[in-house]
Amino acid sequence: MSPIDRTPPRLDRLRIPPVALAAGFAALAGAALILVSGHDPLSAYAEIVRGSLSPESLPDTLAWATPLVGMTLAAALPLRGGMVNLGGDGQLVIGGLVAALAPLVLAGPGPFGAAAGLALAALGGGLYAALAAWGEVRHGVPMLISSLLLSYPAVGVTSYLARFPLRDVATGLPQTLMVPLDARLPVLTGALNAGSLLIAAIALAVVVFDRRTSAGYELRMRGKNARFAGYGGVRLGRQAVGTMFASGAIAGLVGATLVLGSQFRFIDGALLTPAYTWSGLMAALLVGGEPVGAILAALFFAALQTGGFAMQRETSVPRVLTLVLQAIVILFLAMRQGIGRRT
């Protein structure tokens, strides 16, 4: 483009897929970190694989993957159109709290409560996310930052509600009342419940949306060339608000499935501790929001994280190492992509 730009140094011309290269690089860096801690990298990695992919641990991996895939989709959708939703945490807790309250507040049979909880959670998360998009479209407040900042009051207020006005005083913990038995999501097998099916359905819907609908086509067009999307007759403002609503709605549903499927109440902090939002964002960033790739990346991260528990248990290498590995993969790919961009 401009003559001053230096041509970037050429990396190897080997045709190793970048993702594999990044994973290999991360594995090497991780091995160095494990050696620093005085352990054997090979056995630690073996534990990760065994603890995530062996037949007995696979259901755990899938259970862990459910919210992670959900949050990955929530991140991937805006990313596909060149937008970033950093506010997943806020949308997640809103969805979780709404889902925990709906069956308690609404009269009617349990399954109705559960359905209402899911729907309202999606609505709440969606509206909250759409607020950030609206702020950018109408007032030019950058969504990248506003979505993140909106997260903090949402987390603060839900935490306050769970600790004080809505607290289940019978327990000593900061949590709401239990959801009635018949309003919980049915268990499929072991750790898996119907929430996983819901997330799988959403994943399918997002993939179909991305590949097979004109709205998905227009979103991709925006991501590649926003100006041209405008030429092609896309209403960019409406598209931004709609996309963020969908993204927030998915995040809200993730919160709802966790609450109605496995925690059965809103427990302060429980939705955020596993950092699904950030892992999901990384998985989505890894592939530029392409849904199938993002889902695969999320499954990979879920396996890594589930295996991390086993690694910590068996070799006492701290499982937080898996977070480091994920971050190295994303950083490596960010730069690798940059190198490839001008070819």
Partner: protein
């Protein structure tokens, strides 16, 4: 009630809360000036806080701790310095990745090096002494704020002035501004754009290290996982609000510092901390909304349509100088 809020203690705790945000914001200003949008402040600060504890613990010296923080954070910043220039990575992705890397790496090393999780404190860690200036203590406002503060707090304000001077009164500053606003123009005049960017990001990294040292060695000598706790993001907003001007960014930091201190104060009066903790973020958000509303009203003169969401995001991605897009 309102009057009783503004006690000497409030000013002192505000000054203390401002310090790390201000230092990080200065780092962000420097990066923004050369056209590198820095979203990694949060992680850089955390890396600095950890390095400070390690340095202080090993050498039993706060000074070594501070030096380690600056060196460590600068080394960590190599990722952004080279990633966003030579390797042409997207600064937004790099920033997010660096924040996660810092979070994971410090937690990992905390377990590996010190054998603990969550928080680490040790009598061997020497914290920063406070510089007590009795003569100041009686002076209202300024005295309240600065009578007993760490050297880093003083340094933060001195650096604000220094960076202002460097940016606006020295050749280096002129080149930085040129590189950020119109890299082609600076390049055509023989300024090595990539080198200026890399060095600036590394210097900014050292500043975030200083911010981190204040966190872990300032008020208390403790390292806690994720102890930067969103301060880096507030600094990012301060940079945006201040439009890469160190003095305006500092003013924004003062606002957040007071919001934070008032939140703490209200907490001591019985308001739940879950609500008061959000105060600085809400203040930040409001400031952002107000500034953008005013800006859009003033920019009506230019007949350009408002940038679309995608364009604005792209502009931020390119390096935070959406104005000229």
């Amino acid at each position: 009630m309102i009057g009783s809020l503004f006690t000497p203690f409030l000013f002192q705790s505000a000054a203390q809360a401002i310090t790390p945000i201000l230092l990080a914001a200065l780092a962000g200003v420097l990066c923004g000036r050369v056209g590198v949008f820095n979203l990694a402040l949060e992680g850089q600060m955390l890396a600095g806080a950890f390095a400070a504890i390690v340095g202080s613990f090993l050498a039993h010296s706060a000074l070594v701790g501070v030096a380690a923080a600056m060196a460590g954070a600068a080394a960590f910043s190599l990722i952004l310095a080279y990633g966003a220039t030579v390797f042409r990575g997207d600064p937004v992705v790099i920033g997010i990745g660096m924040n996660l890397l810092a979070s994971g790496l410090t937690a990992y090393l905390l377990r590996v090096v010190f054998g603990v999780s969550g928080t680490f404190s040790d009598p061997g860690v020497v914290g920063l002494g406070r510089i007590a200036i009795p003569a100041l203590a009686g002076v209202p406002v300024l005295g309240w704020a600065f009578a007993r503060q760490s050297a880093i707090t003083w340094a933060a304000w001195a650096l604000t002035a220094l960076i202002g001077v460097v940016l606006y009164l020295t050749p280096v500053g002129l080149r930085l501004r040129g590189v950020g606003e119109q890299p082609e123009a600076a390049g055509a005049l023989g300024v090595d754009v990539a080198r200026y960017r890399i060095v600036t990001v590394l210097v900014a990294g050292a500043l975030t290290g200083l911010a981190g040292a204040q966190l872990s060695l300032g008020a208390v000598s403790v390292f806690a996982e994720d102890m930067s706790a969103g301060r880096g993001w507030i600094a990012v907003v301060a940079v945006m609000l201040g439009r890469n001007n160190p003095l305006y960014a500092a003013a924004a930091c003062v606002l957040f510092g007071f919001a934070d201190a008032i939140g703490v104060n209200l907490q001591s009066r019985g308001l739940p901390n879950q609500l008061t903790d959000a105060a600085p973020y809400v203040a930040t958000l409001l400031a952002l909304v107000v500034s953008h509303r005013r800006r859009s009203r003033f920019s009506q003169r230019s007949r350009k349509p408002a940038p679309t969401a995608g364009e604005a995001a792209a502009a931020h991605r390119r390096g935070g100088s959406g104005r000229k897009a």
